[in-house]
């Protein structure tokens, strides 16, 4: 094994159980590959060689747990998920040297399952962006073509999995930040239902929209990771007390008679033709597998972006107030007063995109504008929720493209934030409504770049989303095609 490109969690687990390899050997090889591959890719902000190897030795010494598939598996966390004793930056200058004193709940849960944390992956600063270009730590490249963006904001997590550096990574998704980079890198990414996974220890961007989820090469791996991280947490009052089912339970069940809704708005003007064609072919494949496909309408789709940018920026402007130079992080103390320190720290510490969103959010929440912007956007959110409720009355899933285009060139689209924001138009509604959404590879365009298909489920019905994705994956086996050549 040189990397994880042709492997999945179950296969690696079996080689650990039958003694073909050890956790130390796996970890060493992963680190070795990352150090060479990441020179170009830059998927990682921090690589924890020492911590990972020490952990691997401990896991080997304790003995491989045969019934625990995640035991000894090397993985990575997006660098906005706090890890005790391991630098966590949100890809921002303001947290450049910040070392958390506790673990996020998802980190604790995966540690209990026995994973090896290899390091922390790159992202757009504070998860604000769709290209990983706003990171303070430099641009991550696409695993398929180093002249293209990996998407974002979980661009480092997506590129690290797609390139075979790790078997899986966690990301966070506020408006598409797991699904869009998964689409751009040809892998599987799930944003769970709002409340399914604890947000404790996820550096808050937009608290009513943020969710943590897994990025993997296969659907089964994705469900396995969700099994480990889902569930109620008394540290997150928005986490759900609903029972957590086995997310692998419906994998392999056929999808005959399942009702698939295809919103006509998801194939509107802004969607690239090659993307539309590949996703339509994917939907035809679902039909061949027995699903019943209907065209539907989600009339408020086009207002999603506008509502999102007001709501998400408003919540961000409030959440990011805490970075003030007092208790941790960057602190610019050249001025005379406390007020000078606040202003100098924020001015120096935040990048342009973060400042822009803080400005938009502060404006939308300011006296005289609150009703016109923040409240109006929250009302439109209600209308969008009603649209989706109508669809799910008589459908099991909604299917369409994940993003309007494939990965674009580095530096190509960052001049006009409005154009950049349009990339999120197909993923944002899922966050506003709080639904689970998954991206899976549906094929490649003429330049050999992956095209993502999005499968959206009803609230807390990740099982059916995985069932459909798995049926599609088994029928197409697109995961066999890997960056740099076929399997």
């Amino acid at each position: 094994m040189d990397n994880f490109l042709n492997l999945d969690i179950k296969t690696v687990h079996e080689s650990l159980v039958n003694g073909q390899t050890t956790v130390v050997e796996l970890t060493q090889k992963a680190l070795e590959f990352i150090h060479s591959r990441d020179e170009e890719l830059n998927a990682f902000i921090s690589i924890d060689d020492e911590g990972a190897l020490k952990r691997a030795e401990e896991l080997d010494a304790a003995g491989i747990q045969e019934d625990n598939l995640l035991y000894g598996i090397p993985m990575a966390h997006k660098d906005n998920i706090v890890t005790k004793g391991l630098k966590t930056t949100s890809a921002s200058h303001i947290l450049e040297n910040f070392v958390p004193v506790y673990n996020a709940t998802v980190v604790e849960k995966l540690n209990e399952a026995g994973v090896v944390v290899i390091g922390k992956t790159n992202l757009d600063e504070f998860a604000m962006g769709g290209s990983t270009e706003t990171s303070f730590f430099g641009q991550t490249k696409n695993a398929w073509d180093a002249t293209k963006v990996p998407g974002g904001s979980s661009g480092g997590s997506a590129a690290s999995v797609a390139s075979g550096e790790v078997l899986f990574a966690l990301g966070s998704d506020t408006g598409g930040s797991i699904r869009q980079p998964a689409a751009y890198n040809g892998i599987v990414g799930l944003k769970p239902t709002y409340g399914r996974v604890s947000r404790w220890g996820l550096m808050a961007f937009s608290s009513s929209l943020d969710q943590i989820g897994p990025l993997t090469r296969t659907v089964r791996d994705n469900a396995l990771v969700l099994n480990a991280i889902a569930g109620y947490d008394d540290h997150d009052a928005t986490s759900s007390q609903k029972e957590v089912p086995d997310f692998t339970a419906k994998l392999g069940q056929d999808i005959k008679g399942l009702r698939v809704a295809v919103p006509k708005e998801y194939f509107s003007e802004g969607v690239n033709e090659e993307v539309a064609e590949a996703v339509r072919a994917g939907i035809t494949k679902l039909e061949e597998l027995g699903a019943i496909v209907d065209e539907v309408s989600i009339p408020h789709t086009k207002y999603g972006i506008a509502a999102y940018y007001i709501l998400a920026s408003s919540e961000a402007s409030s959440n990011l107030q805490r970075y003030d130079g007092v208790r941790y992080g960057l602190s610019e103390r050249s001025g005379d007063t406390l007020e000078d320190m606040y202003v100098n720290t924020k001015t120096e510490g935040f990048g342009p995109e973060v400042k822009r969103r803080i400005m938009l959010g502060t404006f939308a929440l300011s006296a005289g504008f609150y009703d016109a912007y923040f409240k109006k956007a929250a009302q439109v959110r209600t209308k969008l929720i009603q649209d989706f409720e109508n669809i799910f009355k008589d459908h099991d899933v909604i299917v369409g493209p994940t993003a309007p285009t494939v990965a674009f060139g580095l530096g190509e689209e960052d001049d006009d934030p409005k154009t950049m924001y349009m990339n999120d138009m197909l993923t944002i509604p899922v966050n506003l409504v709080g639904l689970p959404g998954l991206s899976i590879n549906a094929g490649f365009n003429s330049e050999n770049m992956p095209i993502g298909m999005q499968i959206i489920g009803n609230k807390f019905d990740e099982q059916t989303v995985y069932q459909v994705a798995y049926a599609f994956e088994r029928a197409t086996k697109l995961y066999e095609k890997i960056p740099g050549g076929d399997k």
Binding site: G195, S208, F363, Y421
Partner: protein, 101 residues
């Protein structure tokens, strides 16, 4: 809704946000926010009379827990993250002009 944001308004918002912009930066921001607000103005096409706003999609109502200290003995670790400390306390600059630290 205001169709655009004036430079004067942008200055006021920057003060609220405690971020300093140069004049040139502010011009760029005003232009970009103007573009975004034009997009946001399309929300006015939606009739939201009597529509209840959604601020969160959580199904939880009130969450209670026992008032028990948890994970509490971390003073040293937390202080180590402070940019400046003195006598086991976090040190900050003077709150008022001319005051001592």
């Amino acid at each position: 809704m205001a169709e655009t944001l004036s430079k004067q308004e942008a200055k006021h918002v920057a003060e609220l946000a405690k971020i300093r912009f140069t004049d040139a930066e502010l011009d760029v921001i005003v232009g970009q926010l103007g573009n975004i607000l034009t997009l946001v103005d399309t929300l006015n096409e939606v009739d939201t009379t009597d529509v209840v706003p959604t601020y969160s999609v959580t199904e939880n109502v009130n969450m209670f827990r026992d008032d028990v200290a948890d994970n509490w003995n971390q003073k040293t670790d937390l202080l180590n993250n402070a940019p400046q400390q003195q006598d086991d306390m976090i040190k900050v600059p003077a709150i008022l002009d001319g005051g001592d630290n």
